[in-house]
Symmetry: C2
Subunit: 237 residues, 2 copies
């Protein structure tokens, strides 16, 4: 593996993106378009492609209603990319706190999903063509599947620790699907970079020196990041 | 509703298929092709279309590997239709008891899924393009999702009473989908009847007089039917 694995020499520990230098097979190298700033592009190679791949595969585009669950590192890239694809984008978030930021990113609508807010769930029944669930905590999938229209799909890109109870009725009504997706291939990642270049999309980040990672980490755990931390590798020198 | 509901007069109880006569809107009437025997065709209008619809929607056909979980009223129709569509058909059944019957219906392969038979599940990892789960009891969906190849789909057509725990990893690996499907529309039901007529497909049945339903019912509960009971409405006179 890239991080904390073992190099081909059988003994050196791998350092992945924390390396000063790296030798890579040319088939696994990507071209960063000139108009994309390096720091704000780094998260595209994970959060960007993780959202771009299912949005393309399940055909987000004009006339499609896309819901993004969670507005973190993944979710905020989903909003930007789905908006650039001309889909109608709704954010389903715990509270309305990030509403203004989401709208600046291109969200058309914003809904709170706290358990007290039954209204959002009533109003949105059968509404979405595609929902992407970016959360890595367990949520009630049945509740969200009911928001899908005929042949709608909910795609899970986060990895909750525990299994989630699912009722067959949530799928059988309206021929809905629950699917999963994980990052994307090299060709598709290059297509994503070129797409972001064309639409001037990059990640919202907080740039930090590597010496500050121990201060940053508790904020990652608390989901208190707008919207990705990026380490300036110059600070490694 | 068709059965045990209330007629438009607001008081008469509906009798559905147990009626001697029925008045129907012409848009909801189907044509039974001449070469299909009435008794063996009756179950096509439920079990037949329930299997035909997802097999068509998820494109079962030449080169596709289709798994059918359960060989009952639904499953045996799934085998016949998927075979007529030129897909490779495997039955995943509790035991090997029905193996010979399944092969006569067109099954290419037959696997036992009892918990002792880990071998089937190891051997079939990533094998199927499409699995249709006809069971109305809870099974471990994760175990079966692992049998799907890239972009494979498992379709649930039965309705288990309880929710089933599902792990995100089962979906995320290989971009798998878990979907649901329920019977089909009138146009598609006519297409199914015409398809069955062309391929000489009908349901395997046990025909019975309505006076015997109380004897038949315990056998339905025990899944001891080959493969659908059909009531001869002549016996109503």
């Amino acid at each position: 593996m890239t991080y904390n694995g073992v190099e081909r020499d059988g003994q050196t520990r791998t350092q992945g993106g924390y390396s000063n230098k790296i030798v890579a097979d040319e088939n696994y190298v990507l071209r960063i378009p000139d108009n994309l700033p390096m720091d704000r592009t780094a998260p595209l190679l994970c959060a960007g492609i993780t959202m771009y791949s299912p949005l393309m595969h399940w055909k987000a585009g004009p006339g499609k209603k896309v819901g993004i669950i969670g507005l973190g590192g993944l979710g905020h890239m989903g909003v930007k990319i789905a908006h650039a694809l001309d889909a109608e984008v709704s954010v389903l978030s715990h509270s309305l706190k990030k509403q203004d930021e989401a709208k600046k990113m291109g969200a058309d609508k914003f809904y709170a999903t706290t358990s007290s807010d039954q209204e959002s769930f009533e109003k949105l029944k059968g509404y979405f063509d595609l929902i992407i669930n970016t959360l890595s905590v367990e949520i009630d999938w049945n509740r969200y599947l009911n928001l899908l229209t005929l042949d709608g799909t909910m795609v899970v890109v986060g990895l909750p620790e525990n299994e989630t109870p699912l009722g067959a009725a949530s799928l059988i009504n309206a021929r809905r699907s629950l699917a999963g997706s994980v990052i994307g291939g090299i060709r598709e990642t290059q297509a994503m970079l070129d797409f972001c270049s064309k639409h001037n999309i990059a990640s919202d980040i907080e740039l930090l020196q590597i010496q500050k990672v121990n201060e940053a980490y508790p904020r990652v755990v608390k989901s208190d990041v707008r919207y990705r931390f990026v380490i300036d590798t110059k600070s490694l020198d």
